[in-house]
Point group: C2
Chain length 251, copies 2
DNA sequence: AAGTGGTCTAGACCACGGT
DNA sequence: CCGTGGTCTAGACCACTTG
């Protein structure tokens, strides 16, 4: 059972602002939904009904409905009709940025100290996170990123040499490893895990941390064309770094 | 300076698959960009040029270009032209979910213990995060969420009573505060901050934590219709909770 | 068969930016 | 002024679902 057609007083909800018609139609429909006049799963008037009700051509109605569908407000089924979508389960998003850009955007100084940058033989765990076999050559780098001379990130990275053979020969003062990798192997997908951890002794030294200072750990795997390019463990002192995110409903 | 018009061999890139024309046009353009034939900031043929090149009506070309613009591949400027967008700076996203849903999805048992649920007078800090004045009545709730009887979240929440006057009279065994608030005041936007912190003594008791165990703290403000509905501090034991995210490039 | 959405067209008018 | 994208229309044909 799908529900009855919404008896619409849409024409009344149409603003007379100077705006494109398809936008005014969209806005009118959204307001019907927002005000609860049209409820979830309820049927929306058909295109032809809207055409006669609003005195607008079908292509214009179609554009409004199509865009509202791609924005998640409506669901359309060919041969059946158009329906109000379920209220979205919200998905609040957090963006994880490039550290150097982020520091630059704050108008601060970024510096990076390289602690290690070499080829190693993959142990079983390292091989697993890169999708390679134990004993294969891989690249390993370890560096500290500073914001105005205060360490804010310890970057521990494994790189698949097939995807970035010149990784060891780059100048990482001018460009972060991530920026370089993005350029040579444009990422197609990624996955990351954020958690709170304690730093071990070595990590505390590199980051000049007190004992028991909690840290954010971001572990990130990045793919390009179906293969894993790199696995990174990014460790941030909890007192000096926060992730910030905004989100909007529906849209 | 914007660059020269791409000399197009688009017609060759048009697949002859049985698919809508606007989709084949989109695909052809994307492949030109992906293969580097059309580079960032370069000008794309105008709508009328594409009309004659591909023998397709302008409305169809327009739809293809419009959708590619909203997908981030192109940039259009009225009176000027259409251009290939800069390669996207990646934005890796993390989704922050509703705790009860998340636990249910894992097939585990969710339970919630209410420690406090009452009306209070806002102190200056509390008033600030809700966008109200000091001394106004606000609602405060404090609860622990359990996953299979193990505490995983301490939820400390302030609520704007104008936006949810019946907040205190809900049954939070059947529905989380967030679910209820979403229903009565559909959120239009939000902001959150994720950081690593240490729990204080009280918090450690509620969550049965060891001393020095790092925690994830998510502070979140949520808006509805331009007003702040609620401010929440969600504290997660680092050993029992991680944020997981996936992302895709460009698409 | 009737109603729905999905697509496409040819032509039109407009607002904008650059010449 | 011209060429650009932005919008709108009336009419058409199709594929799909339902009775």
């Amino acid at each position: 059972m799908v529900g009855q057609t919404a008896i619409s007083q849409l024409a009344a909800a149409m603003s007379d602002q100077p705006a494109p018609i398809y936008q005014r139609v969209k806005q009118a429909i959204v307001s019907q939904i927002a005000e609860g006049v049209w409820k979830a799963r309820q049927r929306v008037p058909s295109e032809s009904e809207l055409v006669s009700e609003l005195g607008v051509s079908r292509m214009t109605i179609n554009r409004a409905l199509r865009e509202l569908t791609s924005e998640g407000y409506l669901i359309r089924m060919q041969g059946v009709g158009t329906f109000v979508a379920e209220a979205k389960g919200y998905t609040a998003m957090l963006e994880v940025h490039n550290i150097a850009e982020e520091i630059a955007q704050r108008g601060h100084q970024h510096r990076c100290k390289i602690l290690q940058l070499k080829e190693i033989k993959a142990d079983p765990e390292q091989a697993a996170v890169l999708g390679l076999s134990t004993g294969q050559s891989i690249f390993h780098s370890l560096m500290v990123h500073y914001e105005n001379e205060l360490p804010v990130q310890l970057e521990d990275r494994l790189v698949n040499p097939q995807m970035a053979p010149d990784y060891l020969r780059q100048d990482y003062d001018s460009q972060t490893p991530y920026t370089y990798l993005m350029r040579v192997a444009p990422l197609t997908a990624g996955e990351h895990i954020v958690e709170a951890v304690l730093a071990d002794t070595r990590q505390r030294q590199y980051l000049s941390l007190d004992e028991h200072e909690p840290c954010l750990l971001i572990r990130r795997q990045t793919w390009s064309e179906g293969k894993i390019v790199t696995y990174a463990r990014l460790l941030y002192p909890g007192s000096r770094y926060k992730l910030l995110g905004r989100f909007k409903g529906h849209g």
